[in-house]
Point group: C2
Chain length 373, copies 2
């Protein structure tokens, strides 16, 4: 392999593909990026076996020549070192040459680096061909779908299935569901497609993927039995799926309620985050006390003291009610709604309640109360 | 104690005094701030026994009333909790009242907090009266003195005296010296005073103190046998001194040299930080190779490969010379000089060399080379 390449485009691909590299891995080969100069351009690939990211640096972008090739080929180079070296080089254009399959020589005329490298054949081959069910979506819509649901997934590995975001496409609707068993978030998106699939994608991976979109407009999902591919611009991300049956959650969401609170989102957020300072050691539990005249948020701790917050702007319908809960769950839910006002609908003191946006019926957040102190 | 107080001024004092609070301490009392409302204003004090910080919130700042007192008194309140609570409260003015020496009630009309507190008498009394030798300096000049020297102190506790910055005032000159035994930094400042003292102040403390100066113009040092006080604006910082004799370092600095390199600071910094990527596992050692025609920086590692950098803008006087050193030391020294160009003067391959600013003879940085590979 021998080429000269635009530094900024090369660095961008290195940075993106490096996001798949684990900071520590049992397999030292996985600390490397695979660089493959072929007829499409320079493919930069990183993987940690859970997730694989491949970025293509094309020969040209519009009128501009990005790569001048003088010999195709491939090699594995340490991801962290290569990215740091390229990042710090001053030149606008770099030349790179692989010598004897063992040294990558990188030069900008002033700095000259010889990095040890490994034959490309040592790398596990990962299938990045789109197979299975194909669905193309607007990037912004897919990002919102993930952002409004994935946060409710579990981050504990005891029940791996709960670390997933469940994606289900059927009848022209894509539904994303996440639950850690104490709370649940669900978001739907109308899709102009008759694609049908059901899969469990690691929630953290999905969040990472949406952060890679940058300027991309459309993303194509390719869902097969054991993996899902995301294709956007010059990037392909492949993630394993989590096996197992996702819990049946449709029946959990209550349909009728006895108490309704509508309140300014920001005011409730501030009051809850302040009050919960006093219950940090007790799962940040706060109590919401509501009558038609007064709404208060309170918290208390043996060790630290107590807090009492009065909500100024609200409308409440129902008899007097007190509900205690982990304030982090409600704060996450309100933030995810991205709504000026939120509506909270209760069945009873110890029954799950839902947090909604009055203006957006595509998203619902369900939270289980905690025992009142 | 009962008062109403301007939130911003209160928060500023809490933040500053909290900088003395250790994140973990064997003595739970030291997690508290002492609040003392007396005839001067509200004194907020935090300590970790090594360093004590006291901020005064005065009753008035210019025309503006900051505190309205309705009863003097004192109490100890958990620093982290109090600061967080005050930070997040929305009101412009807060009221605070200590009830039965055990509860601090803080209120802004909307949020009401009752924080557990402790009698002020439980706090160790720390003497914050200025004693000993007094010296008043310009804050910017004292900050520069510290910034250009303190970085060379050791951060290892094996030889505590080397973690100090040695301050010596004599004959109208204040000299700051730091060394970790592999490098040394010395900075002098002319003082309009016949003050004479010699003391060893923890280097990290001095850096922290200069970061507290903000808008302050003048700082007064009060040096006694076992402690040093810094007084500026409404703040007093007291630090213990490190006991023991500071190494005699005057004779170490060579006076005659055989090789001189003058080079653009930024170019040398970039080249060394790039090259040292290749020797991260070997103390970031790089080799400087100089002739009158060519100056190069190189580094190599068995594991990773090698780097070779050509310096474009330089002037070198002397025969061919190769010197290897820990690049971190030279990078720190160059940064501390804050000079566009730097001059490096060598005696011989394995003898200590000095890094200077061609335009500022008040600062000198001495570095011991490492064995060449």
């Amino acid at each position: 392999m021998r080429l000269s390449i635009d530094k900024e485009q090369f660095l961008k691909a290195l940075n993106t593909a490096s996001k798949a590299i684990a900071s520590k891995s049992a397999d030292p080969l996985l600390a490397n990026l695979k660089l493959d100069l072929n007829e499409k351009g320079l493919e930069v690939t990183g993987t940690n076996k859970e997730i694989t990211i491949q970025c293509l640096v094309p020969y040209r972008i519009g009128e501009k020549e990005i790569i001048r090739a003088a010999g195709l080929g491939a090699a594995l180079i340490n991801a962290k070192l290569l990215t740091e070296v390229v990042r710090r080089m001053d030149g606008i254009e770099l030349t790179m040459e692989i010598i004897d399959d063992s040294i990558a020589k990188i030069d900008d005329g002033r700095s000259s680096f010889k990095l040890n490298c490994i034959k490309a054949e040592a790398f596990t081959d990962i299938d990045l061909e789109p197979n299975g069910v194909i669905l193309t979506l607007d990037c912004a819509e897919f990002s919102a779908l993930v952002e409004q649901s994935a946060f409710a997934a579990s981050n504990k590995e005891q029940r791996p299935i709960l670390t997933a975001l469940n994606l289900e496409a059927t009848d022209g609707v894509l539904t994303a569901t996440a639950t850690d068993s104490a709370r649940l978030a669900r978001k739907t998106l109308n899709i102009d497609s008759d694609a049908r699939f059901r899969c469990n994608v690691p929630a953290r991976t999905l969040t990472d993927v949406t952060h890679l979109f940058e300027g991309a407009k459309r993303v194509t999902l390719a869902v097969s039995d054991s993996s899902i591919l995301f294709l956007f611009e010059n990037t392909i991300v492949c993630s394993r799926l989590i096996s197992g049956d996702y819990p049946v959650t449709r029946a959990i969401i209550p349909q009728t309620f006895n108490y309704y609170l509508e309140v300014n989102a920001q005011e409730l957020l501030s009051a809850m985050s302040r009050a919960s300072l006093l219950s940090a050691e007790r799962d940040y539990v706060v109590k919401l006390s509501m009558t038609e005249e007064e709404v208060q948020v309170s918290a208390r701790s043996e060790q630290s003291g107590s807090a009492l917050e009065s909500i100024q702007t609200f409308s409440y319908t129902g008899e007097r009610l007190e509900v205690s809960f982990n304030s982090v769950f409600v704060i996450d839910a309100i933030k995810a709604l991205k709504s000026e006002d939120v509506r909270i609908c209760f069945q009873a003191e110890m029954k799950p309640f839902v947090v909604l946006s009055p203006k957006d019926d595509t998203v619902i957040e369900l939270i289980t109360p905690m025992r009142t102190y």
